[in-house]
Symmetry: C3
Subunit: 135 residues, 3 copies
């Protein structure tokens, strides 16, 4: 079973998509299986991270922004704006696809795990995801 | 087929789990398929790395500890101890899920590849893994 | 369905393998499914990145080479050459397996996405990939 979703983003940050992915799993109504999430972009990525304390996500984003700053003189690919090349690097360091087992009809996420779309660009974007479910 | 494992960790480091994952594959007794490993935590992660020379893993862990040090003044999430925020960042930079094809009843790991649970926290933990096998 | 490929590399860099992986998908002739790519090495990795402007890939490789330089005095594993330990670290920071859904008989790659084998070592190598396809 394949589902396609578009997530609206409004600038850099982590957008939780656990509810949207869980809804696909419930719709499939399999008791056991595997849910794979794929993001069709190279300047946004996927992450499973703590969804309890928002300071974890803030620190994580601040840390990565410091590691991969805008305006690095190393960049030659600057024609698409100062946030573009950092976005590609941040995407390369995180995930384009994630696989999460399904048990008893639910994603087997840990107590503190949420699924996030990580938008690395400024501005508003519609980010396309493909979800594959199989028993 | 789904199997759930708990791996006991005793502080930061790479814990080889190749044997445990291989045992699940043998139990399934499929000749061809896909084995997906998922870790239910955001301060421990998964890695496929060289399992021959332990100096590779020591250098890798030392390098990542230097990149993501404890006590960074950037962190605001400090209430769970100095090793907590670095653990979340290290997990984000490595894998939460891994997929390994099965051929002739065995994981198709390369000659030098082992599967590791990477514990990023101090102290003793029981880390929960979910293994999904499908033909 | 399992296919095994060997990709010849001639030094560090990103080698596009989209055509090779797509050929496996066409051969399977499934309309819907999941394609998983696995690399059997710990000094080469997998990446989905922009395949349009080559300056993105050049900057990405230059950035990672600066983050993980050869000759870092931290390394103790130096017996296999100055490019070996950086290769293991770069592999750990990127992907060993990738999963891409298949819709209408094609990989659901985004407009600008290509699949790459990232060779982290100097010299010529034959890199082994395993591709798993399932409905």
């Amino acid at each position: 079973m394949i589902r396609q979703l578009t997530i609206a983003t409004r600038g850099q940050g982590l957008y939780e998509i656990t509810r949207e992915i869980s809804a696909c799993v419930h719709e499939a109504s399999w008791q056991e299986g595997l849910c794979t999430v794929f993001v069709k972009h190279t300047s946004a990525s996927l992450l499973i991270q703590e969804n309890a304390d928002p300071s974890v996500r803030r620190d994580l984003a601040a840390w990565l922004a410091r590691l991969v700053p805008e305006g690095d003189p190393l960049y030659t690919h600057t024609s698409e704006g100062p946030d573009d090349m950092p976005s590609h690097i941040k995407s390369a360091l995180t995930a384009t696809s994630l696989a999460i087992p399904v048990v008893d009809g639910h994603l087997t996420l840990g107590t503190w795990q949420g699924i996030f779309l990580w938008e690395h660009r400024n501005g508003h974007h519609g980010r396309h995801l493909v979800i594959h479910l199989a028993p």
